[in-house]
Every structure is written in structure tokens, then in C-alpha cells.
Symmetry: C2
Subunit: 449 residues, 2 copies
């Protein structure tokens, strides 16, 4: 990576970047501590996700997205940051992984690999969505877990043995029926691969296994979330690997990028959340919907992909379009912070929460602008980062009890005060802090001490 502070310009000093870095590091430690302290279910395994402002569990349900994300995050921290390469982190990840493998997959007439959306504390399925996302986070969790356990029954590795790249990945993909699960339960990596195949099938070939009824007016709609999520999985599954499987995923990755770029509409002036399958604007509210946080997250996914593939045009599009447009349209000039939803023509969105400030778009914005700055060294991008940083740390972070609040009014007042809920787990905050710390390390050309 670009290695020097010489590029720093304008009013931003090295000291300031160092302060950012220390803040990210301190905050990450506090956030990890919070979830380690409060979220582990030592009786049934897995993680509580409904956690009040002071750590109290207010609901015992276990949301599968959040189980998968927490497994992934623990493993990633364990694998790539020395101070988290500790047995208690790995044990927690393995507990979550075992809970997921045992309970998340449910019988489903449409396809063998459907995951529940929500489980009871002891693992009984309570809800299932007709979308792909529970399965996506299952794949993320299983692959990252396989990387740290060496894919062999998730045995504990000795702490200290950091492994950033080298798991062999050549398990043959077989399309299994549910009753075959038992045979293959030794292999999280194989499960990840199989589930990924199923996901690609749902998205690119036939969605009927998701269980949505066929309706005459329900023409295919491309939601940006779908190729974004698949691209994220491709980056997960291909990192530091090669071979036939990886080539297959890379082809999927290229398709995802094309799909995401279709959401750049109106002559390159707007990022729309949903488009038609021909890449055209859809009629009505659904077609006009903008989700600045999603666009920013797509922005850093695209930038990362562009960097990995040496695609300079894609890098430019990621920064100039997917990062700049959401800021220009989504930043609340009166109260600060990023609005949750917008209508491109200025109508009022129909989502009741449209004007609220949510934590995760701010997390994604921090990653996006810092990553963009680290590669372009354009001072304006560091200014964007700084502006989002100031709002984020002064509004979301809870100095008293740790972790972040997730939901503010448009005016910036905390309106839902829990730290974990059905959609807020151990993911966006620690991923943001982790990535920002890594990027600031690289900008400051420092190794972790």
C-alpha cells in the first residue's frame, strides 16, 4: 500500500491521523469487551443479540444474521490482529459456529439449504425470510471459521499462530440433501462452498427455492443488496486462494460488479437502490429510493475490487459516484449525519425511519472515505472522513457503558437506546473500527506494536 505521510496536505496533521488511529483502537477494544462480556450464551451456545444499553439481555431470541456476523468478526479479529489472537476469542467463535451449524439450517421444500432468520435461545427456528441474507452470513461465518480452524472440526489453534492466507480450499462441491448434512459436518469450508453455490443459483438461475409465490405483477427487481452481498462473499471466499473454485467465484464477482454499476442511474447522477433486471429505473417509490449507507458500502466494496484487479476506472467510479453522490444527497445539512432513505425526486419516502440517523451508514462512510483517501491521497476525502468521524463519535459512541447506540432521531437524539437488537449485532461497528485501524496503520506506515 501507499506508504507515506508525505502526501498529507492541508490542515490535516500526522498527529490528527494518529489520534484517529488510537481512537479506533481503543474503541475496538471496548466494543469487543462489551460483546465478550454480555453476549455469550454459555448454556445453549451462540450469542444473545438483544442487549440493552448497559449490557442487560432484554430478549433471548437469536437472529441468524447476527450469529453469523459475530462468528465472522471474531474469527477475522483472531486471524489478523495479534492482540485478538487469543483462545477466548476463538472459543467464542467456535461456539457460535457450532450453534449455527446445528440449528440455522432448516427443512425447506424449495431447496435443501435454507437458513432460518430467527431462532429461540435453544435453537428452534422461529422465522424464515424469503431472501438470501441468512444464508449469506452463514457462508461468511463458515468460511472465516474454516480459515482459523484449518477446516478440521474447528479444533483450537494455538494462539500466536497468525494465519492470514493459507487455508487450502479444494473440497469437492456436492449438492447435498438435508439428510446428508451429518456426513459433512466436519467441514465448515465445504458447507460455505455448498451454500455459496445455492446462493448463486437463487440469484442468477432460479429464485423459486426462496419460497416467494409467483405473481403476475411481480416483475424481477434488482436490489443492490444482493450483488453487494455476493461480492462480499466472493472477496471472502477468494482471499489469498487460487484454483478452479476461485476462478468460478471470480466470474461471479465480475457479474456482481456489473450488477452494482447498473444502480448508477440518471446519467451518473444518482445511485438507486433498486432497478429493473434490464438495468433501467423502476416506476414509483421503489424505483426512486436511495439508501446512502448502502451506496457507500458498495463504494468501498467496488474500490477494493478495483484495487485487487487493477481496474482504475472502477476505482474512480467507486469514489466519484458511489462515495460522493450519497454524501451530497444524504448528508443532513441542518442537523448533520446521514439520512437513512431518500427519494431521488424529493418526494417523502414511505419508510417511517427515513429521516433517522442509523449507526451503520456512518460505519460504512468511515471505511469508504478512509479507504478512498489512503489510495488517492485526495485531501477532500480525508475531510469527508473527518466530518463523518466527528458526527459519529459524538453521537453514537456511548462513553458510559461502551458500544454504540444505533438509532437517533433526525436531530441526533438517541431514540432506541439498546446496543444490540434484531438487526444490530457485533458487526458494523467492529468491522468499521477494525478496517479503519488497519487503513490508518498503512497510511501512517506503522506496524502494530
Amino acid at each position: 500500500m501507499i506508504d507515506s505521510v508525505l502526501f498529507l496536505e492541508g490542515a490535516m496533521s500526522v498527529e490528527k491521523l494518529q489520534r484517529y488511529r488510537e481512537q479506533m483502537r481503543t474503541e475496538l477494544d471496548k466494543v469487543v469487551e462489551f460483546w465478550q462480556k454480555y453476549s455469550h450464551d454459555t448454556q445453549y451456545g451462540g450469542f444473545f443479540t438483544c442487549i440493552g444499553k448497559d449490557g442487560k439481555i432484554y430478549d433471548e431470541l437469536k437472529y441468524v444474521w447476527l450469529q453469523g456476523r459475530q462468528v465472522w468478526m471474531y474469527c477475522r479479529l483472531y486471524r489478523t490482529m495479534e492482540r485478538f489472537n487469543k483462545p477466548e476469542i476463538l472459543e467464542a467463535a467456535k461456539s457460535g459456529g457450532a450453534f449455527l451449524r446445528r440449528f440455522a439450517r432448516i427443512p425447506n421444500s424449495g431447496s435443501p439449504w435454507k437458513c432460518a432468520f430467527c431462532l429461540t435461545r435453544d435453537g428452534k427456528a422461529l422465522k424464515v425470510q424469503r431472501t438470501i441474507f441468512s444464508e449469506c452470513f452463514y457462508v461468511m461465518a463458515m468460511d472465516e471459521l474454516a480459515r482459523v480452524t484449518g477446516d478440521k472440526d474447528m479444533q483450537v489453534k494455538q494462539p500466536g499462530a497468525l494465519n492470514t492466507s493459507t487455508i487450502k480450499f479444494s473440497v469437492k462441491i456436492i449438492f447435498l440433501q438435508p439428510h446428508h448434512f451429518a456426513v459433512y459436518q466436519h467441514s465448515g469450508g465445504a458447507e460455505a462452498a455448498q451454500m455459496m453455490d445455492q446462493l448463486v443459483h437463487w440469484v442468477r438461475v432460479d429464485p423459486s427455492g426462496l419460497g416467494k409465490p409467483q405473481l403476475s405483477g411481480d416483475t424481477p427487481v434488482c436490489s443492490m443488496a444482493v450483488p453487494m452481498m455476493l461480492l462480499c462473499l466472493v472477496q471472502q471466499l477468494t482471499e489469498a486462494r487460487s484454483g478452479e473454485e476461485v476462478d468460478k467465484y471470480r466470474e461471479v464477482g465480475g457479474w456482481c460488479v456489473k450488477q452494482i454499476l447498473q444502480h448508477l442511474q440518471r446519467g451518473g447522477t444518482a445511485i438507486l437502490e433498486s432497478v429493473s433486471s434490464e438495468g433501467k429505473e423502476l416506476p414509483g417509490c421503489a424505483g426512486r429510493l436511495q439508501n446512502p449507507g448502502h451506496a457507500l458500502e458498495a463504494g468501498w466494496f467496488l474500490l477494493q475490487y478495483g484495487l485487487e484487479n487493477g481496474d482504475q476506472e472502477l476505482q474512480r467510479t467507486a469514489v466519484d459516484k458511489f462515495m460522493e453522490i450519497p454524501f451530497l444527497t444524504g448528508w443532513d445539512k441542518e442537523h448533520g449525519g446521514l439520512l437513512y432513505f431518500l427519494d431521488v425526486d424529493g418526494y417523502c419516502p414511505t419508510q417511517l425511519e427515513w429521516s433517522m440517523k442509523l449507526w451503520w451508514p456512518h460505519c460504512e462512510a468511515l471505511i469508504a472515505y478512509l479507504m478512498a483517501y489512503s489510495h488517492t491521497k485526495e485531501p477532500a476525502l480525508l475531510e469527508r472522513f473527518s466530518q463523518v468521524y466527528d458526527y459519529t463519535f459524538s453521537h453514537f459512541s456511548d462513553a458510559e457503558n461502551g458500544e454504540w447506540f444505533g438509532y437517533l432521531t433526525q436531530q441526533g437524539k438517541v431514540t432506541l437506546d439498546f446496543k444490540g437488537g434484531p438487526f444490530k449485532g457485533f458487526f458494523h461497528v467492529p468491522r468499521c473500527l477494525y478496517m479503519c485501524e488497519k487503513i490508518l496503520d498503512s497510511i501512517l506506515n506503522k506496524q502494530e506494536s
Copy 2:
């Protein structure tokens, strides 16, 4: 009804009640005018429901709940209020009814009578919910339409011939397969009865036709919305009728009342939105959820039922529990208005909109307190009405463009400025104004001039 103003006590003068009545009447006229002017789709039939603050259509989708509710409301106004007994009201209702009958019912493997949730402008099904509510509003619409058209191909009645009670209702109920629809399409009343049978079957016998997968952790949950909605339908289908069918519905009504009363929990101190099928409190957030607007709506349904059946204990419970508790827990003492959701133990609800002020709970509160006052003549209930009235008319009603805003922040600022949306149509506001006008008429012992 109790006929006199002699009961009026305290500071509330007859003049004040007359002012309320005139306000209700004027506002109802304006609201009807708004929807007549902007919502009718003269090209495809049915009603636009996504209508901006100044009447502009911002989305052409047609939500089936709202189509059914608008047909019902037009017919009810036409049938029971002389100033609305006009051909243009009936024609609009018939257009909506024809659109519903032609497009709302969709092929469904589970049962022949499933209705879509959302249609395209030209009637193609876009979404279907796995709940009973689209079908419920279909029943309401078809029955009320049958009452004004005499059930014969919805022919136009001459204006002026008010008919408040007398439609014969003896169509034999036959459980039809979809291909039989054509044969019976002359009869909205028969369709209402058939759909009602299907609803009762889903709720009391077997919900599998709704299409929800069977999941091991998904134990049966009783949501208050279900018996409330069925009780509303029972009152619709039995009004001023008698005979075997009506006896059958009355049995359903009694069951609904018992079900609703199960939501009075914690020794009669709390109304909980969901309970177990044994009438016990459920664990977690779902079990602790309170919805003051729903409780108030249930309150006037129960009071009405108690009055019709001479059940004084039920009348008392309706007022003392279902109207008083939601006010004590749900009224925002700092900013005024009714909160949308609450947790009975004081945790933060997980619904992002929990602290918002929505129009419909205020509509239901106005009906509830005025109805309760008109029967008990307790001044405290008129004070409640007055307090809700002041908040409602000063915050929701739009003097500039007509109709009401639907969604305010906790502080009372309009945050979604449309007049119609996916869940806000021509229903709660006009039903409230209509019922309050009728009740005030009866209190003031006046006939419409």
C-alpha cells in the same frame, strides 16, 4: 341512545360539544372532498393511495387493504349520512369494488380465497402477505357494497333512498374453487360470506392455507389484531340482520371477545399485544409489547359489543381497562400525543417508530372516549376526548391542503408529509370523523339538518 345534554357536567359546555360536532362535520366534508378529487383512477378503476401532501400521486401502486377500506367507507357514508347519499359516492365505491373483485383474489395453492396485498395500477398482483388482513378488508368492502347495491350486480340505487338496515342476507354459503368465481360474481354479499368462512377457518381451525412454513420454534401466538378484525367483521355482517348465518357469526363474535380479553394481563394492569394460545404472557419483546392505539380501538369494539348484548361488565372492562390503561401508559406527558409502541417493563421497543405519533391511534382514541362518554356520561372521559382532540387537530389536520398528516416525530413535527401511503388511506380519519359526528349528534340529541 342516551338523549340529553342534562348529564353534561363540569367545565364542558353544550357550546363546546356543538363546536366539536361542527368541526367533525366540516373536517369530514374536507376529507371526503380530498379523496374524491385526487384518489380516483378513472382509467383503470380503483383508487390511488399514495398521495402527496397537496394531492399529487407519487406512486401508482394499489394497496388492497386501502382499496377495501375506501369502498367500505364510501358505502357507509352513502348508506347512513344523507349528505353523502350521492351518485358520485356510490359510483366511486362501485368502481373500487369492481376493481377489487376483478384483481384482488389471486391463485394460491393453500386455499382458494387468498387476496394480494398490493397490485399494480392495472391490477397485477405484486405482493401477497401471509396474514388475513387483505381478505378482511375485502369482506368489509363486499358486504357494505352489497348493502347499498342490493347485492344485484351492484346496480346504482337512486340517491335519497337511505337504507340503514334491511338487505336480505340468505345466500347459501358454498365453498368454491377459484374456477367457480365467474358463476357467483353477481353477488358481493355471497363473496363476503364465503371469504368470512375462509377467515374463520384460518384463524380457528387451520392456518396452513396462509402459506407460512411450519417451524419448530414458532409456537402459536395470539395477536390482538386478529380477533379485533374478526369482531369488526362480525359486527359488519350481523348489523340489523337475523337468521342462521347471523347466529353463526354471533358465535364467532363471542369467541373474538374472549380472545381479546385474554390480552388483559398482569392482574388487569396491562394490555399486551400478543399472548400465547393459552392466554399467557409470552417471553421477550414480543410478549411485552403494548400498542396503545390498538388497545383503544379494541376498547370501542368491546364497548359496542357490550352495549349490543347488554353486557354491563364488558362495557365496564372496555372503558376501565382498554381505554384507561393505554392512556395512562401511552400518553406522552412531555410532548403530548400517544406513543406508537411501548414495552410493559420499560425496555426500549425494537420497532424504530416506537416513539412516533401516528394519526390512527389518535383517531381510535377520539372514537373510544367519545363513545364511552356518551354511554357513561363520566366527565373524565369527555376530558380525555378533549385532550386527544386538542392534540390531534392541532398536529395532524392540514388546514392548507386538506386531509391529515399521518406521521409525526415524538416532538410532534411532521416527518412524513404525504396524505396517503401504503398503510394510510381513506379510512381511519373519515371513520373517526363520521363516528364522532354521529355520537355528538346523539349526545346533543340533534338530527342532521
